[in-house]
C-alpha cells in the first residue's frame, strides 16, 4: 500500500530517519558484523594476537559435548515452557470466557505478572523454593520430596520452568481470551442445539478455530524461552548445578564474559542469530497464512 499524497523535500526524509538508522548501524549492524568477523578467529590467552582459523570455531563447538548439552537443555526448557505455559493459560482463558460473573476481575488478577521483571520473578520463586528457608521447599519436604535444586539438576530446571511460565501465562491468557471472544457465538449455539456437549464443542469447534492463535503463541513462547529467559537463569541458578540449566543464551554470556573466549562466544552468537532469523521467518511466513481449517 502506498500513499498518493506525499511531501517533497530533498533533505527532510533523511533527517527524519537519521536517528533510527544511526542507532541501528552503531549498535546493531556493527556489533553483528563484529560477531561474524571474530567467529573466524582465535585469540591467544593474553588477549593479543588474532589468528585466522576459518570455520574451526564452529567445528569445535559442534564437537564440544558441553555445547551440545546446552542445546539439549535449551530444547527441553523451551518445550516445557511452551507446553506448560500454553496449556495452563488455555484452560484459564476457556473458563474466563465462560463465566459471566467476575470475568473482568479474573482478567485483571491474572494479567499483572506481565509487569514483573524476569529477574524479579526468578528471585520470588527462588525464595519460595530455597532448600533452607523456602516455604514451598518446607512443604515439599514434609510430604517426603527430597528437594534441593542447588544439587539436583532436574529440580533446578523445573524451578526456572516454573518461574518462566508464571511470567508468561498472563500474555498467553490475553491472546487466548481475545481469540476465544472472536469466535462467532452462533456457531457454538448451533452445535449446542444439535446436542453437542461442552467438551465436544471445544474439541470440534473452539480448538480448531483457535489454531492460528495457538500457533502464533507457540512461536512467541519458543522465542521467549530461547532469548528472554536469560535473566531468569542468571538470577535463579546461574546455569547450575553443573550446567543443568545452562541455556544457549546463558552460555554465550558465560563464555564471552567469564571465560573470555572471544572466538568461541562470537561463533555461538552467529549460531543464535541463525536461530532467531529462522524463527522470525517462520513467524512471518506461517502466522500470516493463518493455520486454519
Amino acid at each position: 500500500m502506498e500513499k498518493r499524497a506525499r511531501f517533497r523535500s530533498w533533505w527532510l526524509p533523511y533527517a527524519l530517519i537519521l536517528p533510527q538508522i544511526a542507532v541501528t548501524l552503531v549498535f546493531f549492524f556493527w556489533p553483528a558484523g563484529q560477531a561474524l568477523y571474530y567467529s573466524a578467529f582465535i585469540q591467544d590467552a593474553f588477549g593479543g594476537n588474532l589468528q585466522f582459523v576459518g570455520l574451526d570455531n564452529f567445528r569445535e563447538l559442534f564437537a564440544d559435548p558441553h555445547y551440545l548439552a546446552s542445546f539439549k537443555v535449551t530444547a527441553v526448557f523451551s518445550l516445557l515452557v511452551a507446553a506448560l505455559g500454553l496449556s495452563v493459560s488455555l484452560v484459564l482463558a476457556v473458563f474466563a470466557d465462560r463465566v459471566v460473573r467476575g470475568a473482568t476481575a479474573y482478567k485483571t488478577l491474572l494479567i499483572w505478572p506481565y509487569a514483573v521483571a524476569p529477574a524479579v520473578a526468578a528471585v520470588l520463586w527462588v525464595f519460595l523454593f530455597n532448600p533452607t528457608i523456602g516455604i514451598v521447599a518446607w512443604w515439599l519436604k514434609r510430604v517426603g520430596v527430597d528437594w534441593n535444586y542447588l544439587l539436583d539438576g532436574d529440580q533446578a530446571l523445573l524451578l526456572i520452568v516454573i518461574a518462566a511460565v508464571w511470567k508468561q501465562v498472563s500474555y498467553n491468557f490475553l491472546f487466548f481470551l481475545a481469540g476465544l471472544q472472536s469466535i462467532p457465538k452462533s456457531l457454538i449455539e448451533a452445535a449446542a442445539i444439535d446436542g453437542a456437549g461442552p467438551v465436544r464443542r471445544f474439541a470440534t469447534i473452539v480448538f480448531p478455530l483457535l489454531s492460528p492463535t495457538t500457533f502464533f503463541l507457540l512461536v512467541v513462547n519458543v522465542v521467549y524461552a530461547f532469548f528472554d529467559t536469560f535473566a531468569i537463569v542468571d538470577a535463579a541458578t546461574s546455569g547450575g548445578p553443573g550446567q543443568a540449566t545452562e541455556i544457549l543464551v546463558y552460555k554465550v554470556y558465560k563464555d564471552g564474559f567469564k571465560g573470555l573466549d572471544l572466538g568461541g562466544s562470537a561463533a555461538q552468537s552467529v549460531i543464535l542469530m541463525v536461530i532467531v532469523i529462522t524463527l522470525t521467518v517462520v513467524q512471518f511466513r506461517f502466522v500470516e497464512r493463518k493455520v486454519q481449517y
Binding site: 541501528t24 546493531f28 529477574a119 528457608i133 542468571d234 552468537s269
Partner: protein
C-alpha cells in the same frame, strides 16, 4: 452463555480462583517476608502473616539498600525510572519520525532503510552481547544513562506499528494540509501526532515495562553501584550466598521493583491490552 450448567460453572470458578491464587502466591509471600525481621524470615517455616516491621524495612532499603550492595534502593529506583522513561519516549519519538519519513516521502534508499530497520528484529541484545559491549565501552558510555538507554532505543516494532497506522490516515488530510500551505512538519505536528495518540499511549505502556525490566544490558554496562537499576540491585543483593542475604530487605526491594510497572499495567489496563495486541501484528 449458551446453556446453564451449574456444575461446569462451579468448576470454572474453581480453576480460575486456583489460578489467581497460584499467580498471587509468590507475591504474597514476598510481601509477608518484607514485613519481618531478618531472623523471623529465617525461621522454618517462616510466618505466613504480615509482621510489624514494614516501615522500618522499607525505610532501610530505600536509604541504604541491603547486604554488600551499599547503594540505596531510592537511588536505584530513580535510575530505573529515568532509563525506562528515556527508552519508552525515545523509541516512540524516533519511530514516529522514521515511520513518517517512510510513509510520506519518496526518497532514495527508502527501501534499504526500511529493510535495515526490519532486520533489527532478528538481532536481540542477547545474541550480540560481547561486540555490543565493546562498542559501548569504546564510545565511553559505560556507567552512564546514555549507555543504559541509547543502544536499546532503535525499534522495528514501533516503526512498523506507526507505519501501519499512518497508511490508514486518509490522503485527503495531507492534500488539504498542502493546499492550505502547511509544510510536512506542520502536518506532522498538527495532524499525524494527535491522530496517533491512542497508539502512542498503548506503546508507552508496553515500552515502559520493557525499559524498567531490562536485565542483561544494565548488568553489562553498570559497574558502579550508584548507576544500578533496581532489578540489577536485587540480583547483586542475593549473590552473596544464603548466610549473608538479608531476605526481608531483599523482598522489600523486590516489592518496590514490581510496584511501578504493575501499577502502570493495572491503571492503564485498556492501553496495555491494546499495546500488547498491536505490537504483535
Amino acid at each position: 452463555m449458551i446453556e446453564n450448567r451449574p456444575l461446569l460453572t462451579f468448576v470454572g470458578h474453581a480453576f480460575l480462583v486456583l489460578g489467581v491464587v497460584i499467580v498471587a502466591l509468590p507475591v504474597y509471600v514476598t510481601l509477608v517476608a518484607s514485613t519481618h525481621t531478618a531472623a523471623e524470615v529465617l525461621e522454618v517455616p517462616m510466618p505466613m502473616l504480615p509482621g510489624g516491621h514494614f516501615l522500618e524495612n522499607y525505610a532501610a532499603v530505600i536509604a541504604h539498600g541491603a547486604g554488600e550492595s551499599g547503594a540505596g534502593v531510592g537511588r536505584m529506583m530513580v535510575n530505573s525510572l529515568v532509563s525506562a522513561l528515556v527508552i519508552a519516549i525515545g523509541k516512540i519519538v524516533i519511530s514516529l519520525l522514521s515511520a513518517f519519513a517512510i510513509v510520506y516521502f519518496r526518497f532514495r534508499f527508502r527501501g534499504i532503510a526500511f529493510w535495515m530497520i526490519f532486520v533489527t528484529l532478528m538481532l536481540p541484545v542477547e545474541v550480540r552481547i560481547l561486540p555490543t559491549y565493546k562498542v559501548v565501552s569504546d564510545l565511553h558510555m559505560l556507567d552512564s544513562y546514555a549507555g543504559l538507554t541509547v543502544p536499546l532505543i532503535a525499534s522495528a516494532t514501533a516503526t512498523f506499528l506507526f507505519r501501519q497506522f499512518f497508511l490508514t490516515i486518509p490522503d485527503e488530510l495531507a492534500e488539504a494540509a498542502r493546499i492550505d500551505g502547511a509544510g510536512p512538519m506542520r502536518f506532522f505536528r498538527d495532524v499525524v501526532v494527535p491522530l496517533s495518540r491512542p497508539n502512542i499511549a498503548a506503546l508507552f505502556v508496553i515500552l515502559f515495562i520493557y525499559g524498567w525490566n531490562q536485565y542483561l544490558w544494565p548488568l553489562l554496562v553498570t559497574t558502579q553501584e550508584d548507576m544500578y537499576t533496581v532489578v540489577i540491585g536485587i540480583k547483586r543483593m542475593i549473590s552473596g550466598g544464603d548466610a549473608a542475604t538479608e531476605w526481608n530487605l531483599v523482598m522489600a526491594t523486590a516489592m518496590l521493583a514490581m510496584l511501578p510497572p504493575a501499577l502502570v499495567v493495572l491503571l492503564m489496563q485498556k492501553w496495555f491490552v491494546k499495546g500488547l495486541v498491536d505490537s504483535e501484528k
